[in-house]
Structure formats: structure tokens, C-alpha cells
């Protein structure tokens, strides 16, 4: 696995949808239908039980991002679409990384890196450990790159979720 460093900026589109069956299907179908190459998609409940929030991240030029937003707005179940300004947005993603830890010395190394990234070791077995780390997608990329030296056995990323910061006085 190679860490991608695309030249284009990461775009974050956050949108509120009706919380009902089939909505995720409509969104993912749309992405496939229009050939949008997205980086991640995440979905979860919001403060309003009738609504869910979905977050899509993608690298792409203005025309593509604009089409994604317009096509999303056309979906009947989509209540509101916002494009988040990356400079002014809190973007977080979580990753679980299962790494190879054959001995005490390796574990000490692992511990050092995990602390540097403010992660946590959440499971330890004789030969392996699972690390949890949270942060911006770039931070996660960097962390995963470091973990490669240990040997990654399994990896799970949630995809990014995001909220725009409130305007300051």
C-alpha cells in the first residue's frame, strides 16, 4: 500500500440526509453512476434523529467537485449539502492497525510511536497488537507509513468525518 500524495487538495463535502433505508444506496449509486472517484465516505447519526450526516472526501478539480455537489442536491433524500473549507474545518478519521510484535523490544518501539501520535494500544496478543489512532487523514497516512516497519497484519480506516468550525468574533 502506497500513501497517495495527490497534487489536488482534499475536498470535503458534508451533507445531511433523511435517516431512512435506501439512502446510502442512492448516494453510493450516484457516485458510481457519475464516475466520481471518491477517497472516503462515512455516515452516522446527527443531533436530529430524522437525519444522518454523510461525509465524502475526494481529490478532484473544481468542475468535478461542483458536479458531485449538484448531483447530491438533486437527490430527494438529501436535505442539505455543504462544501467544507479545509482551512476552517475539523476533519477526523480513525484507524485500527494490527501490527506484528514478535518481542519486547519491538513493543517498546511501538509504544514510542503510538504515544508520539497520541494513539492507544487497545489489544495485545503474544505476537500482535492493535493500535487505535485518530486524527486528520494526513496524520493517519503518516502513522500507517510508520507502522509498515513493524509489518501490518490488518488495517481498518473509518473514512473521514468533519464539521466546519464556528465563526469567531
Amino acid at each position: 500500500m502506497e500513501v497517495r500524495r495527490p497534487k489536488q487538495p482534499l475536498n470535503v463535502i458534508s451533507f445531511i440526509v433523511e435517516n431512512k433505508p435506501g439512502v446510502l444506496f442512492r448516494v453510493t449509486w450516484l457516485i458510481r453512476r457519475r464516475n466520481f472517484n471518491i477517497e472516503s465516505i462515512s455516515v452516522g447519526p446527527t443531533e436530529n434523529p430524522n437525519h444522518s450526516r454523510m461525509t465524502i472526501t475526494l481529490y478532484g478539480d473544481e468542475a468535478v467537485v461542483e458536479q458531485v455537489i449538484k448531483q447530491l442536491r438533486k437527490l430527494i433524500d438529501v436535505v442539505k449539502v455543504s462544501r467544507l473549507d479545509p482551512e476552517n474545518t475539523v476533519i477526523r478519521e480513525m484507524a485500527l492497525v494490527k501490527v506484528h510484535v514478535p518481542d519486547q523490544e519491538t513493543r517498546a518501539d511501538l509504544d514510542y510511536y503510538v504515544r508520539a501520535f497520541r494513539g492507544r494500544i487497545v489489544d495485545i496478543a503474544p505476537n500482535a497488537a492493535i493500535v487505535e489512532v485518530t486524527g486528520s487523514p494526513h496524520k493517519i497516512d503518516a502513522f500507517i507509513e510508520l507502522m509498515r516497519s513493524f509489518g501490518i497484519k490488518e488495517l481498518a480506516r473509518t473514512g473521514a468525518t468533519a464539521l466546519q468550525r464556528s465563526a469567531k468574533e
Binding site: 435506501g22 444506496f25 458536479q67
Partner: protein, 568 residues
């Protein structure tokens, strides 16, 4: 009121003023048919569900009202698919109702179960699956609202049979619920309108390009007023055919792959293009990157996602075409500037004379597609409606049949569905019983849906089918002629082609096989006066070209009017 889900559906359809449903019953929709028995809504039994959808579509296109079709679960529902996709591509408002297996059987691969929601989500504006009888009236209201709001399109309601049977206390006027928020932006942005008006006034060689959206928005009058006030020539797309009278002095022609060569040339000379209700399809504008390169483009569309999708406009206007055209006219009048378009109008006249004179139009036979279609136009009243199949017949109809009013030329433009013409003509005739409806078809297209002759006879829906019969899949053969070295793989239909006169008579329809243009006129006049469907089988040469022709992937500037230009 205590009602079953099925009765609630029929009552809700009555509330929507539905007057006709095209459909075929089956096991999983029987409770609805049982309720329909006691309703004032007319049901027209078709012979294949695809035709139910096409007929509903033809009804919608001819009338502007929402067409309704119905089928049972499984194969009934999947047979609707081509018809729904056809309506979707051409933004035609229909509501399709399908039976579904009982809820406790969904997902178990039950008999006649199909995931019709999964299948039709990509080809509808929205799909519903009813979960309780109480929600039936609200969902019907929502379905009709979605089908017609903003850019129209098909909506599907999937109705599990247990919910159809289940009784409950039902409120018949429940409002729209959370869909109150689903409203299209219809009013144009005043600043963009002002910019558009200024650009049009500054233009030396402006052209209006009218698409199907002008017809859907009922904006033909506004289009005409603006064109006449500004002395701006009007081009149309295939879907926009009828939006502007083709015998009007400002009519430039139809652009596209088989559009008028003069219109294709002149639109590329325009310095400003006011495009209204068009999505710049490849068949209309040729190579996308080349179109409008030298022009400033004002794009009016009610669907914001169409703006910038294929062609990037200089001035985007998201609005209803009727309101936008009206607003632009008012803005232009307010600026009250003097216009001199005489040079541009003169140039248009000159190009039309030059190019249109050069178009070669097939062999010497008097019973040529050109002569037959021009004769149909001559005999047909101005409000007469033409539907078409797909292929050469469709393009000849588009080239030679002049449409004078919106909703009088009905064709499958986006999906290009062979077999569309005949069932669509039945739907159009049901919507407009006072109009003569003619399906200009091909032998290949007509064979795909000819069984609806039974429907037209039994349900007494008289239309005229004119078959341009050459015994080939003629358009495909044409491409094999031009681009595939005349290797006719799988395009000849001569062997096994039925005798269309006998076929029509077997269904109880009238039929004729004219040998001359005079005989054709006589047969057509008789057909117009008959209360029975007539099939007129016109034998034409398989080598009739379709010209003009802008070959696929080429810009409109490379439109040819003589086949020798391709072959060299």
C-alpha cells in the same frame, strides 16, 4: 375512513385526477385491480408491460399531465424497465405502480419477486416501497409531486401485496410531510438575467437554442415573444422540436447529428447562444469540447446539475424556462436599445440557400420517405401529433416533418428506444382524442411492439401507423455501409418479416400498401376518417440515405450533405 391499502391507492389516484392507467394485472397486484373495478379511472389493458410505460409516457408528453402505468411483481415490473428508462432520459413525468411479494417474503427470492427498487433507482427520480396502508395517500401525493416538480421524470411505487390487502383507518388528504421542502428554484436570479439581457443586446450574431425543457415548461409563447422582439433566430434540438414553429421566418433549423446542415453551421458562427432547457447531449451538439468554443453561452435550465455538466456557460441561469424567458424579455425591453440584425439575418438566409440546396435526397422513387412524410404534414391538421420509432424513420420524421406546435412531435430522444412509437401514439391519442395521431415507424421498430394493435382495437384507440418498410435495421445498416465496409452483420430483417397488411388485418385493424404517393394520400385520408387503427405499409429503398449527417464524434461544423463526402 376504513380502507384497504389497495383501495387507498385507487382513492389517492382519483384525488390526483388520474383518468387513465395503462397496465397488466398479475398475482401480486390483484387487490389493486379489485379496487380498480369500482373506480371511475379507465384502465387500458396493454399486451406487454413495456408498452404500458411507453403509453403512459406518450400520454404525458402529449398532454403535460402525469401518465400512470401499472404491473405486477417480478417480470411485470422488470418489463416496465425500458419504458421507465425512456421516460427518465427524456424527462417525462410518469408514475409506475408495481405489485410486490408480501413483506415477510421480500428477500427470500419468492415466486415473482424482483428487487424493482434496486433495479429502477438509477432510472427514476425516486422510488417508494409502501410499508403500511396508512402511508399510501401521503406517498401517492409525494410521488406525483416529485414526478412533476422541477425537471419532470418517472417515479415508481412498489406495493407489497400484504399491504394492499391490509385494512386501516386512513386519512385521504394527508399533505406531503417532509417533502414540503422539495421545491425547484423557478425564478431566475435578477442579476444573471440583466447580464444575459446585456450580452444579447451587444451580440451581433445571437442564436437561441431551445431544448425539450421549453416544451416541458410550456414556454413556447415566451420563446417566440423574445425571439421576435430581439430578431433572434431560433434553433431547436430533437427534444425541442415543436417548441418553435418550423414555418416561422426566424426558425433556423434543428441542430444535431441529423440536424439541418445550415443550422449546424450557423450555430457555430453565433457569438452568443442562449440555450434554454437543453442538456447539450452529444447527439445534439457533436463533439462537446468543440461546441460553442467561439461563442458566449447563456444556459437556462431548471436542473442546476445540467449547468456546466457538458458545456460550461458564461452566464448560468437556474430557473423555469418560462419565467426565465419572460424575465429576459422584460430586461431587454427595459434597456430599450436599438438593434440591427439585418446582416446576421441576411447571412442566415444565404447559408440556408447554399447548403439546403445541396442536400442529396435519395433515389427517384416518388414513394420516398421524404415525399411520404411531407405528404403526412400536408394532410395532417396543425394539431396532429406524430410519434416515431427509432432509427432512420425517426430521423426522416425529424428532418421532413415540420412541427408547428409543442407536444406534436413525440420521440425517444435520449434512450433511443426502438418500439417506442406505436405504444406512445396510443398514449398520446388517449390524452388528445381530438387530434389525429400518426406513428411514423420502421419495420424493425414496429415489430418490437406491434402486438399493441390488439390494445388499439379492443380499447378503441384509433391511430395511424406508417411503416417505412425496407426489410432492414436500416440505421444500423446505414452505419455498416458507411463505416464497416458494407459487412451486413445481423441487420437484414427481410426473411421472416411478416406481411404487415395481413398482420394488421389479423388484429382487426385496417391496412394498406400503397404503390404510389397518390395511393398513399388516399389511404392516409381514409385512415384519418376511420375510427379504427390503420397500418400503412410503405415499401422504401434500403439504400435511402439519412442526410444531413454529422458523423459520431465529429463537431457540428463537419456536417455532410452528400454521401460522397464520407466515402472519400
Amino acid at each position: 375512513m376504513r380502507l384497504s391499502g389497495a383501495r387507498a391507492l385507487i382513492k389517492s389516484l382519483e384525488n390526483e385526477k388520474v383518468e387513465v392507467i395503462f397496465g397488466i394485472p398479475g398475482g401480486a397486484i390483484l387487490p389493486v385491480y379489485d379496487a380498480l373495478y369500482d373506480s371511475s379511472i379507465r384502465h387500458i389493458l396493454v399486451r406487454h408491460e413495456q408498452c404500458a410505460a411507453h403509453a403512459a409516457d406518450g400520454y404525458a408528453r402529449a398532454s403535460g399531465r402525469i401518465g400512470v402505468c401499472m404491473a405486477t411483481s417480478g417480470p411485470g415490473a422488470t418489463n416496465l424497465v425500458t419504458g421507465i428508462a425512456t421516460a427518465y432520459m427524456d424527462s417525462s413525468p410518469i408514475v409506475a405502480i408495481t405489485g410486490q411479494v408480501a413483506r415477510n417474503m421480500i428477500g427470500r427470492d419468492a415466486f415473482q419477486e424482483a428487487d424493482i427498487i434496486g433495479i429502477t433507482t438509477p432510472i427514476t427520480k425516486y422510488t417508494f416501497q409502501l410499508q403500511s396502508p396508512e402511508e399510501v395517500p401521503r406517498i401517492v401525493r409525494q410521488a406525483f409531486h416529485i414526478a412533476s416538480e422541477g425537471r419532470p421524470g418517472p417515479v415508481l411505487i412498489d406495493f407489497p401485496v400484504d399491504v394492499q390487502r391490509q385494512e386501516a383507518e386512513i386519512t385521504l388528504d394527508p399533505g406531503m410531510g417532509s417533502l414540503e421542502r422539495y421545491k425547484a428554484v423557478v425564478d431566475p436570479h435578477p442579476l444573471q438575467v440583466k447580464r444575459a439581457a446585456e450580452l444579447l443586446l451587444d451580440a451581433e450574431k445571437p442564436v437561441i437554442l431551445a431544448g425539450g425543457g421549453v416544451i416541458l415548461a410550456d414556454a413556447s409563447e415566451e420563446l417566440r415573444s423574445l425571439a421576435e422582439y430581439m430578431m433572434m433566430p431560433v434553433a431547436v434540438t430533437l427534444m425541442g422540436k415543436g417548441a418553435f414553429p418550423e414555418n416561422h421566418p426566424l426558425f433556423l433549423g434543428r441542430i444535431g447529428m441529423h440536424g439541418s446542415a445550415a443550422a449546424n453551421k450557423l450555430i457555430t458562427e453565433a457569438d452568443v447562444i442562449l440555450a434554454v432547457g437543453t442538456r447539450f447531449s452529444d447527439r445534439s451538439v457533436g463533439r462537446l469540447e468543440e461546441f460553442g468554443k467561439e461563442s458566449k453561452i447563456i444556459h437556462v435550465d431548471i436542473d442546476a446539475a445540467e449547468i456546466g455538466k457538458n458545456v460550461k456557460p458564461d452566464i448560468p441561469i437556474v430557473a423555469d424556462a418560462k419565467r426565465a424567458l419572460k424575465a429576459i424579455l422584460e430586461a431587454v425591453k427595459a434597456l430599450s436599445r436599438k438593434l440591427d440584425r439585418s446582416a446576421w439575418i441576411e447571412r442566415i438566409k444565404q447559408v440556408k440557400r447554399e447548403i439546403d440546396g445541396r442536400i442529396s435526397s435519395g433515389g427517384g422513387s416518388r414513394l420516398s420517405p421524404k415525399n411520404v412524410i411531407k405528404e403526412i404534414r400536408r394532410l395532417l391538421p396543425a394539431n396532429g401529433i406524430v410519434t416515431t420509432g427509432v432509427g432512420r424513420n425517426q430521423m426522416w420524421a425529424a428532418i421532413y416533418f415540420e412541427a408547428y406546435h409543442p407536444r406534436t412531435f413525440i420521440t425517444s430522444g435520449g434512450l433511443g428506444t426502438m418500439g417506442f412509437g406505436f405504444p406512445a401514439s396510443l398514449g398520446a391519442k388517449v390524452a388528445k382524442p381530438e387530434s389525429v395521431v400518426v406513428d411514423i415507424d420502421g419495420d424493425g421498430s414496429f415489430l418490437m411492439t406491434e402486438r399493441e394493435l390488439a390494445t388499439s382495437i379492443i380499447a378503441e384507440i384509433p391511430v395511424i401507423v406508417v411503416i417505412m418498410n425496407d426489410g432492414w435495421l436500416g440505421m444500423v445498416k446505414y452505419w455498416q455501409d458507411l463505416f464497416y465496409g458494407r459487412k451486413y452483420c445481423a441487420t437484414c430483417l427481410k426473411r421472416g418479416c411478416p406481411d404487415f397488411v395481413k398482420l394488421a388485418e389479423a388484429y382487426g385493424a385496417n391496412a394498406a400498401r400503397p404503390q404510389s404517393l397518390e395511393e398513399f394520400s388516399k389511404a392516409f385520408k381514409e385512415a384519418m376518417n376511420s375510427d379504427r387503427t390503420t397500418v400503412i405499409d410503405v415499401w422504401i429503398s434500403p439504400d435511402e440515405p439519412v442526410l444531413p449527417f454529422a458523423p459520431p464524434g465529429k463537431p457540428l461544423t463537419e456536417t455532410i450533405v452528400d454521401l460522397r463526402e464520407v466515402r472519400k
